[in-house]
């Protein structure tokens, strides 16, 4: 081992240490050296908020050390996550419990408290509630829509007993359009005593429910029965009467008018050869079929578009005898606005879907349509939050069909004599809360305001309009009613076993194509009860008697804070506020002195008072702290 370059390496090292003599020593004594507190604070203090906690014991389940002990007594008040997600606010856990106890009639009463169309929703609702169901955390969400359908199929009309109609108030309300929004508003306004007349342009009331949704999803007699219920309350429906101007209605002495026209006009594709024979527009196609008019369809049918309307048109075409139906959609399956179950049902029935393809030209040649399409590719995200498809140059290809149905979208068709401001997509602009338009006494709701949307959203709009019209006409605007008997002795869920969704039986493929019979058969009795029992009763679990965290075992990993669905648990990260006295620090600069706005910190000796150490709580949820009335003080004296 040679000792080469004697001393030079050592000298260089000495130079480095010497240089440090004159540099500012790095120490945690200087607070500003300390960086800011991270947003996800995880300190030594666990704060639990009693109001927000729903007692769903997810935190106890998620704690790896098993330190959280929670006892719930079940007299809760806060609505369950699924009820919050439902636009109309149906109390889902409550009617699930009625079904579990084998009382479907009471269940329908609970549903009818919020929506006048329980069986329609049971068949066609897009069920936003199932996305929020807490059971999904364990295995799979509850099938709420089918439970609603089961309840309505075994209903004995118990809800009529408590359904009251107020005495006539002498006010007259005109509703244009008998879709879900219009009829819901009519129903509630009639119950409040106003005399309501509904004007419907088509021969049959029901709007999109009647003409938009084909029979195999919602059979017509179910709809007619529910509309009968609405008529019993005193709603007068005039069909085949198209209303052209609002002023004439006002002259006839109506005090308030509700425009619920819906979105019945199909959007034109705007490509060459769109008017050639054999090219149909989906809304009119579905309307003719559902009204029973004779519609001839060739053996090869193409449907352009990816929404529910496109799927319905395709499956209706199949049932009308089309041999081969293909759907062309310019984006991919992920971006399809249609309901996933509908898309699967269509694929099961043999519908072929070409993704990333868009029509560019239609050439009509001796009774046959040459559809020229172009391949697309997905580019940047556009305003609707989906990626904008761009055509690929030179990738045209042609296919021949007998009919082409355009289902690329719908928009309301508003006669200009209404004199109302028209917003984007030809919709009426209304105040989002009260749904009142700019003209006095005129209200608008449903698809005409929001553009094509789901049935449940239209019903929710209908309820909102009923409230605002009643207020406009001088009432209090209360449409809440209690139809169901009060619930006795409901206990929260103790232990839940693993259980999956039931398989809903459907018609076989051959039966489906032969007729317009309903595809989905309902649930049997014991299957429905089993499914209802899977509900975690989130609304009942509140009223926490005992919530204790054994600080000794807790390792402050923060998993419970993340697991809590209602953000009722969080941790404060506190620096011990160190008291610096001038003399104590040799290198103390002026700014070291404790000042309020500067954030003191550091690992200096914490000044320990008699009680607990003074701690600066640097919580970004500070505003939340003052709301926490009873502070569950779990802090052990830190550092004693």
């Amino acid at each position: 081992m040679k000792f080469e370059r004697y001393g030079i390496g050592i000298a260089k090292g000495m130079a480095v240490t010497f240089r440090h003599l004159f540099r500012k020593p790095v120490t945690t004594q200087y607070p500003e050296e300390r960086l800011t507190v991270s947003r996800r604070t995880r300190g030594n203090e666990l704060i639990w908020d009693k109001e927000r906690c729903s007692g769903c014991t997810t935190c106890a389940q998620s704690c790896p050390q098993g330190t959280i002990e929670i006892v719930t007594s079940g007299n809760g008040a806060v609505t369950a996550p699924c009820s919050q997600a439902c636009p109309a606010g149906v109390n889902i856990p409550r009617y699930a419990r009625f079904i579990a106890d084998g009382k479907p009639a009471e269940a329908v009463a609970v549903i009818r408290e919020k929506i006048p169309f329980p069986s329609v929703c049971g068949h066609v609702c897009v069920h936003p509630c199932e996305a929020k169901c807490q059971r999904a955390q364990l295995d799979e969400a509850i099938d709420i829509r089918v439970l609603k359908r089961f309840a309505t199929e075994h209903d004995t009309g118990l809800w009529k007993v408590n359904s009251k109609v107020a005495p006539a108030t002498g006010k007259r309300v005109a509703i244009i359009g008998s879709g879900p929004a219009g009829l819901t508003a009519a129903y509630y306004l009639a119950k409040l005593g106003h005399s309501v007349t509904v004007f419907e342009a088509l021969p049959e009331p029901g709007g999109m429910m009647r003409v938009g949704i084909p029979d195999y999803r919602l059979s017509k007699d179910i709809l007619r029965a529910e509309i009968e219920e609405i008529k019993d309350v005193g709603v007068e429906i005039k069909t085949n009467t198209r209303v052209d101007s609002i002023d004439r209605l006002l002259e006839q002495g109506y005090n308030a008018i509700f425009l619920a026209i819906g979105a019945h006009q199909g959007i034109r594709m705007g490509i060459e050869g769109e008017d050639s024979p054999g090219v149909m527009e989906c809304v009119s196609f579905l309307r003719d079929v559902s009204l029973g008019r004779e519609v001839k369809v060739g053996s090869r049918v193409a449907v352009i578009g990816g929404g529910n309307a496109a799927i319905d048109s395709a499956r209706t075409a199949l049932r009308l005898g089309a041999k081969e139906v293909t759907i062309l959609y310019r984006r991919t399956q992920v971006e399809m606005p249609a309901n996933p179950e509908e898309v699967e049902a269509a694929l099961a029935e043999g519908v072929k879907i070409y993704f990333l393809a868009a029509p560019s030209r239609i050439i009509s040649q001796d009774g046959e349509l040459q559809l020229e399409c172009i391949r697309m590719q997905l580019g940047a995200i556009d305003a609707s939050g989906r990626r904008r498809p761009e055509p690929i140059k030179g990738s045209e290809f042609t296919m021949s069909f007998d009919n082409v149905i355009a289902a690329i979208g719908q928009r309301p068709e508003i006669p200009d004599k209404f004199g109302l401001p028209i917003g984007r997509g030809n919709t009426i602009q209304a105040d989002p809360d009260t749904l009142a338009t700019d003209r006095e006494g005129i209200f608008a709701g449903g698809d005409v305001v929001t553009g094509p949307a789901s049935v449940i959203e239209a019903i929710a709009d209908g309820r909102q309009v009923a409230i605002s019209i009643d207020k406009y006409l001088g009432g209090e605007g209360i449409i809440e009613e209690t139809l169901a008997p009060p619930e006795a002795g409901a206990t929260p869920l103790k232990k839940t076993r693993e259980g999956w969704r039931p398989q809903i039986s459907t018609l076989s493929l051959s039966q489906r194509l032969s007729s317009f019979a309903e595809v989905e058969l309902g649930l049997s009795e014991e299957m429905a009860v089993k499914e209802a029992k899977r509900c975690l009763k989130c609304d009942l679990a509140y009223g926490v008697d005992k919530f204790e965290v054994d600080i000794g075992y807790c390792i402050f990993c923060g998993l419970c804070v993340e697991a809590c669905p209602r953000n009722a648990l969080f941790m404060g990260y506190d620096y011990e506020r160190a008291r610096y006295r001038r003399g104590e620090l040799v290198m103390a600069k002026e700014d070291l002195l404790l000042s309020d706005e500067k954030q003191p910190s550091g690992y200096a000796r914490p000044k320990v008072e008699a009680a607990l150490p003074q701690q600066t709580l640097l919580l970004d949820r500070a505003e939340y702290l003052d709301k926490v009335k009873k502070r569950w003080d779990l802090r052990l004296p830190f550092g004693l």
């Binding site: 081992m1 000792f3 080469e4 370059r5 004697y6 001393g7 030079i8 390496g9 050592i10 260089k12 090292g13 130079a15 480095v16 240490t17 790095v26 945690t28 300390r34 960086l35 800011t36 507190v37 991270s38 947003r39 996800r40 604070t41 995880r42 300190g43 997810t58 389940q61 998620s62 704690c63 790896p64 999904a136 955390q137 364990l138 295995d139 390792i555 402050f556 990993c557 923060g558 998993l559 993340e562 697991a563 941790m571 990260y573």
Partner: protein
């Protein structure tokens, strides 16, 4: 004439200033020369693999922080990759990049401690380790900003990371990344060519190349012996294939080479972090994963290049919410296999220096 000396047993035992935790070397000494050395483990055995079988897949994450407590971010990364492979969960882009940044920061922090401890064992009285701890303090502040803790981070989740980084994280990281190479040069000037360190470290505790492969060593120990093997390059996981960085290797495989390899790796990590910061996309940081993950029946093995070597998690699942078996391949334990041969014949001081250069962490050895 050889003086007749009688060897005696000295316990460089569990409580010893330079055994990096509770590791005991039963050395039989003949005067100063180590005649035989037998490592004794188990002082920090907590049975983490048994504990993991009782916890849900998310509940095991805090356990992984306590494996190699000097690099807990990488342990969680290995475990989380294994679960994602098992359950087939995809991770959003931003989360992948955040994981790479955190893992590389953790590699720098772990190497700082490793090199500092090694130099301290060679006798430089606390100066190098204090300079390096000053840098490590900055990294810990960055971690504190991101996940609120300084040692057991519990930051990564199955399907991404638990929280997005606060806005003041990137500027602070940028400042750190720009100043770090300067600090590394300062360490080099302090001790790289120091004659006494050269004498104490060069040619001491040699691990030849074939033996390194034979004892399946990993990380700087393997690369120090001249084997060019790095999981990030050989079997790139996460998004490591999008960065260019090179793998430093030593020549002889002595303490000095391992020390130099660690210093170079710190520079490469800074390079990776710079590239990762430029390509950091925006978007979600965690994909939709139910709280009680229930992967299908089967098994999966995922391994990463942890600072100390190849850290692997072998998960067997029986479609319940807890792993059926969670086996951990601990690089530190396997790197110690050859410690006895590397130390026999050298002095006590060299035994301590060689042990320091292998850089083990008892939390991972004893599990």
């Amino acid at each position: 004439m050889a003086i007749k000396t009688e060897p005696f047993v000295l316990n460089l035992g569990p409580v010893h200033p330079s055994t990096h935790g509770v590791f005991r070397m039963r050395t039989t000494l003949d005067g100063e020369v180590v005649v035989d050395m037998e490592p004794v483990f188990g002082y920090l055995h907590r049975g983490i693999e048994k504990l993991a079988e009782e916890r849900t897949y998310t509940g095991v994450i805090p356990l992984t922080d306590r494996l190699d407590y000097l690099a807990s971010m990488s342990n969680t990364l290995a475990y989380v990759l294994a679960v994602e492979k098992l359950a087939g969960i995809t991770v959003p882009e931003r989360a992948e990049y955040l994981r790479v940044i955190m893992a590389e920061l953790q590699r720098i922090a772990s190497h700082l401690i490793a090199v500092g401890a090694f130099l301290n064992d060679c006798g430089a009285f606390m100066t190098p380790i204090l300079y390096m701890i000053r840098e490590r303090e900055k990294i810990l502040d960055l971690f504190d900003m991101v996940c609120g803790q300084r040692l057991t981070y519990n930051y990564m989740r199955v399907g991404g990371v638990s929280h997005d980084i606060p806005d003041e994280f990137l500027p602070a990281l940028d400042k750190f990344v720009n100043r770090m190479p300067g600090f590394i040069d300062e360490y080099d000037q302090l001790l790289k060519k120091n004659e006494i360190l050269l004498v104490r470290a060069k040619g001491v505790g040699i691990l030849p190349k074939e033996m390194a492969i034979n004892i399946s060593a990993g990380g700087p120990v393997l690369r120090g012996s001249g084997v060019k093997w790095d999981i990030r390059k050989a079997d790139p996981y996460s998004v490591y294939d999008r960065f260019e960085f090179d793998i430093p290797t030593g020549t002889v495989g002595d303490c000095y080479d391992r020390y130099r390899v660690r210093i170079e790796e710190m520079r490469q990590s800074v390079r990776i972090i710079k590239q990762a910061m430029e390509q950091l996309p925006s978007g979600a940081v965690k994909s939709e994963v139910p709280h009680l993950i229930r992967p299908p029946v089967g098994e999966a093995y995922a391994h990463i290049e942890a600072p100390k070597g190849e850290l692997g998690f072998y998960l067997v699942s029986d479609n319940s919410i807890a792993p059926y078996r969670c086996a951990i391949r601990a690089p530190s334990l396997i790197n110690l296999t050859a410690l006895c041969d590397m130390v026999k014949g050298w002095k006590v001081a060299d035994a301590i220096a060689t042990f320091g250069s292998i850089d083990i962490c008892m939390g991972e050895v004893d599990r």
